[in-house]
């Protein structure tokens, strides 16, 4: 295991004092399992200097959170064992009593978590002043004044009024701001941020990252920033530590790591990150060039069965009859309340959405949470009832009185879900999971079903010997492959993938995306690909539709939308996506706080008619001046 790499002259100049604030040497953490003490961290060593930001990056199970919890000593002492030397400003933390470390926690080093950890039954003001009074011994009125100052520091508008709010009354981004304010209450010298932006939308994530950077400058803190997202790393970190399965693989200045990764795993990780803008100048989707994480060598591309001009899926002919036609789709959910269960409003989840997908084409729906993209997908699959509009699948009517029977529609369109841990019945063997759609819809012998299932598993890169196993015996990526195999069992023409790769780790995500493209090429499938991740969408799509608050605000060929984004919201989304390029580290972005707009309308609301303007061939933009985030409205 390597010790922390010596600082480059440039980075050393930025972090002048040589005396590290936090020094971790040979940290080994073990958990008690039925098999005895199992190490989950092995001999991890790194330093954090004053005013420095260290990013600890790794995929799930790499031990990055356990590192933070070991430093804060927040692990259960009965089932975990911490060995090694942890020094905070020269004091050995490992030798400290429980009371001693409690004095440090919050006061000298603070932590924020992925899900803003606020108690739902107390107001924000109560929770903030409680810390100030307990830890800093302020009087009630001083604490209130200080709490307001803290909320202003994290740029919460109307801080004085917000003290009386309960956590549920705030949006996710606002709650994370309050959590940061609480962490800063005692002016800590080290802030540990454990995936603080993972649960947030990209535009909110950009704001929170900006805020942390700004506060670090103001408060002269050191930050240990834990994340799985290399884009975030590039934006925040002076130095980066890469972890893999409990080992610290590589540490160094962020620019060094990105420019000249030394370890195979780091190379593999960097190769699998989708980079926004990397596809400029190309029209067609392109698979990732993957790198083996053990050898660092590029993974050989699949041997081509027959000579083909390009590995990428060919361009679908746009003049062919569309496979899926969605016209004027609207979905509303009634909200009822009051004594007589009256209609108090409606959630206009999807409002007048129209698009087409050609055979063999991938259309991506992008947008942030609440934009209606998943609701649209579910409506196409028949999981939601629509209020208006028509859906046609090839020559079949999918909605209305003369709709085709579900059984026939099911065979032509299938869906892949977001969570590979929830979408497979845990009590079914893989063989039965794959066989179920065939047993229901096709009249096949058990032998034939078994042969087809084996073929499906091979198609998604798994071995047919795995058929007798249960889902819990597979990793997330393997399970998502199984889910894909099952979706292909009835040989559908359209596959709807609802955030199908969002829950996967980066290196696995790239593989699954490559697999989906390969399947598309082989079977001439169409995809409706739902995602919030602009960089992934750029890789896989032929065409892209951006959704905001229930409407499509921009739709067109991928190249056209990404190279000349024409709607202000599209431009904001692209600007907010973190880019894995350390050169952008000193870029400062706006900090303005958005009022989150909701699609809840009064019962008598009449939506404005949709007007689309053509800005390029097949590239349309919504012309509705007030259908924008408030900050973008002029």
């Amino acid at each position: 295991m390597q010790a922390a790499a010596p600082l480059s002259p440039l980075a050393a100049a930025a972090t002048a004092p040589s005396h590290p604030l936090l020094s971790v040497q040979g940290l080994t953490t073990s958990f008690l399992t039925p098999q005895g003490w199992t190490p989950v961290l092995r001999n991890v060593s790194f330093d954090i200097h004053p005013r420095e930001t260290l990013a600890v990056v790794g995929e799930s199970g790499s031990g990055k959170s356990v590192t933070a919890l070991s430093i804060m000593r927040l692990l259960n002492p009965r089932s975990s064992k911490i060995e090694g030397d942890i020094r905070f400003d020269g004091t050995a933390l490992t030798g400290l009593s429980d009371a001693g470390i409690r004095r440090l926690r919050g006061a000298e080093m603070s932590m924020i978590f992925q899900d803003a950890s606020l108690n739902p039954v107390y107001t924000i003001g109560f929770q903030l002043t409680e810390i100030l009074r307990l830890k800093r011994g302020l009087s009630r009125s001083d604490a209130t004044r200080e709490a307001i100052a803290l909320l202003e520091k994290v740029r919460i508008p109307g801080a004085g009024r917000r003290l009386a709010s309960y956590p549920h009354e705030l949006s996710g981004g606002m709650r994370q701001r309050v959590a940061i304010a609480m962490a800063l209450a005692c002016k800590p010298r080290l802030l540990i941020a454990d995936e603080p932006t993972t649960a947030l939308d990209v535009t909110i994530q950009a704001q929170i990252i900006e805020l942390i950077k700004l506060l670090q400058d103001e408060e002269h803190m050191s930050v240990m920033f834990i994340t799985h997202d290399m884009g975030v790393v590039a934006e925040v970190a002076d130095r980066t530590a890469v972890m893999f399965r409990g080992d610290l693989v590589e540490t160094g200045p962020t620019a060094e790591i990105f420019a000249r990764p030394r370890q195979p795993y780091t190379k593999a990780l960097l190769a699998s990150i989708p980079r926004l803008g990397s596809m400029n100048g190309t029209d067609l989707p392109q698979p990732f060039q993957l790198i083996d994480h053990r050898t660092g060598a590029p993974v050989a591309a699949e041997p081509q069965p027959e000579p083909q001009p390009a590995r990428a899926p060919a361009a679908p002919s746009s003049d062919a009859a569309p496979l899926l036609t969605v016209e004027g789709l609207s979905l509303r959910f009634d909200m009822r309340g009051g004594a007589f269960h009256r209609l108090t409003g409606r959630v206009h989840a999807v409002e007048d959405v129209s698009f087409r997908i050609a055979p063999g084409e991938t259309l991506s729906l992008v947008g942030e949470s609440g934009s209606g993209k998943s609701t649209t997908a579910r409506a196409i699959m028949g999981l939601n009832r629509l209020q208006g509009g028509t859906i046609r699948l090839g020559d079949l009517q999918a909605t209305g009185p003369d709709a085709a029977p579900r059984a026939i529609l099911c065979r032509r369109q299938q869906m892949i879900f977001q969570d590979p841990f929830a979408s497979l019945d845990p009590r079914f063997r893989i063989a039965d999971l794959l066989a179920e759609p065939m047993r229901v819809h096709l009249d096949l012998s058990e032998d034939e079903i078994r042969r087809r299932s084996a073929g499906l598993l091979r198609d998604v890169g798994l071995s047919p010997e795995m058929m007798q196993r249960y889902p819990h015996q597979f990793s997330g990526g393997q399970r998502q492959r199984i889910a894909i195999a099952r979706a292909l069992a009835l040989d559908p023409q359209l596959v709807v993938a609802d955030e199908a790769v969002s829950a996967l780790d980066v290196s696995v995500k790239a593989q699954v995306i490559n697999l989906m493209m390969e399947i598309q090429r082989r079977r001439q499938l169409s995809y409706l690909f739902i995602s919030h991740d602009m960089a992934v969408v750029e890789r896989i799509s032929h065409r892209v539709a951006v959704m905001y608050l229930g409407r499509i605000v921009e739709i067109g060929p991928r190249r056209s939308v990404f190279e000349t984004p024409s709607h202000p919201y599209t431009r904001q989304l692209m600007a907010a996506a973190p880019v894995p390029d350390p050169a952008r580290r000193h870029l400062r972005r706006g900090l303005e706080v958005d009022e989150i707009r909701t699609p809840i309308r009064p019962p008598d609301y009449r939506p404005a008619p949709t007007r689309m303007i053509e800005v390029g061939p097949g590239h349309f933009v919504l012309d509705l001046p007030d259908h924008l985030p408030t900050a973008l409205q002029t």
Binding site: L383, C410, S423, G461, Q473
Partner: protein, 306 residues
């Protein structure tokens, strides 16, 4: 076949599933759970093999000798020539044999009523969870109505109308207990039916009955097993209470509760054994079942998984 598999998280292909063995191993990690299980197995075996383990059939009046009445534990029989380990009751019935036979009735009534109630309750609860709307409202209001009455009161009312008898006791117990199962099944079913694998089955066009029986029900079983275990213990004690009050099983087929009741009148004459030994057996049985139930709850609760 794609050759680009460099998944760093891929699981060991040699790993095999032994759900039963894993389950047994984690169950036995708790000493109290293990003790409960051993006791319960012994009790069930004793009840099943009662005719082999006992000296007389306590229900066969011809085998009883009135001359042996009210003998203390350890006394020997006048005529038959065996020792009454736990004494005899006023009619010369061997308490040891009577307890073994009583255990059969108590356990039988408990298990039959709890499983019947589980089937009825779970079915209604899952239908409520899956269908929602009016069906759910109707079923759950019935459950609320049922649970708002004290159980003993309902059982007393039913038996007062129908009269004594093992069948009637079982019926009363089922009517009292189904609501608990329905409520639990609905709770679990609501959680499970919102999961993506149920939605995935919809999308694949799997028929509703198949989703209910093959996907929803098996995933709701673990908490129901826990409830069922505890409910068996509850049914046994409720049956004992009813029999003690004289509205339960008939005098010709005494359960543990009826034995306690019969011996109770001799309690203050110093003949403690007629009611204390059946009482102790009842206590041990219920404690054993509850220990097993508690352990099952811990093991089957996914959140307590290591």
């Amino acid at each position: 076949m794609p050759s680009d598999i460099v998944d760093p998280f891929a699981r060991d292909p040699e790993a095999t599933a032994r759900p039963l063995r894993d389950f047994a191993r984690s169950y036995l990690r708790s000493p109290s759970g293990a003790v409960g299980l051993v006791l319960l197995v012994l009790i069930v075996l004793a009840a099943l093999c009662a005719p082999l383990l006992s000296f007389q059939n306590p229900y066969d009046l011809l085998q009883l000798d009135i001359m042996d009445g009210q003998l203390p534990p350890g006394a020997s029989s006048m005529a038959a020539g065996y020792t009454y380990l736990l004494g005899t009751d006023d009619q010369g019935r061997d308490m040891y044999s009577a307890i073994l036979y009583g255990l059969r009735i108590s356990l039988g009534v408990g298990v039959i009523s709890a499983t019947t109630a589980a089937v009825i309750g779970a079915t209604l609860g899952l239908i409520a969870a899956y269908r929602g709307g009016r069906v759910e409202a109707a079923i759950m209001r019935l459950v609320d109505f049922q649970l708002s009455f004290p159980t003993i009161l309902i059982a007393l009312m039913i038996l007062a109308v129908l009269g004594k008898g093992i069948g009637n006791v079982i019926l009363a117990l089922v009517l009292v207990e189904w609501a608990t199962f329905a409520r639990t099944a609905r709770g679990v079913g609501l959680v499970e039916s919102r999961k993506e694998y149920i939605e995935a089955s919809h999308v694949m066009g799997v028929p509703t009955w198949r989703i209910l029986l093959q996907h929803l029900l098996p995933n709701c079983i673990p908490p129901l097993i826990v409830i069922a275990t505890v409910q068996v213990a509850r049914a046994i004690s409720l049956e004992a209470t009813l029999s003690f009050l004289g509205v339960g099983v008939p005098i010709t087929q005494p359960s543990l509760g009826l034995l306690i009741s019969n011996g109770y009148q001799y309690m203050f004459s110093g003949m403690y054994w007629m009611s204390v030994f059946p009482g102790l057996s009842l206590l041990v049985t219920i404690v054993a079942i509850n220990l097993v139930g508690d352990r099952l709850r811990d093991v089957l609760n996914p959140r307590k998984d290591s």
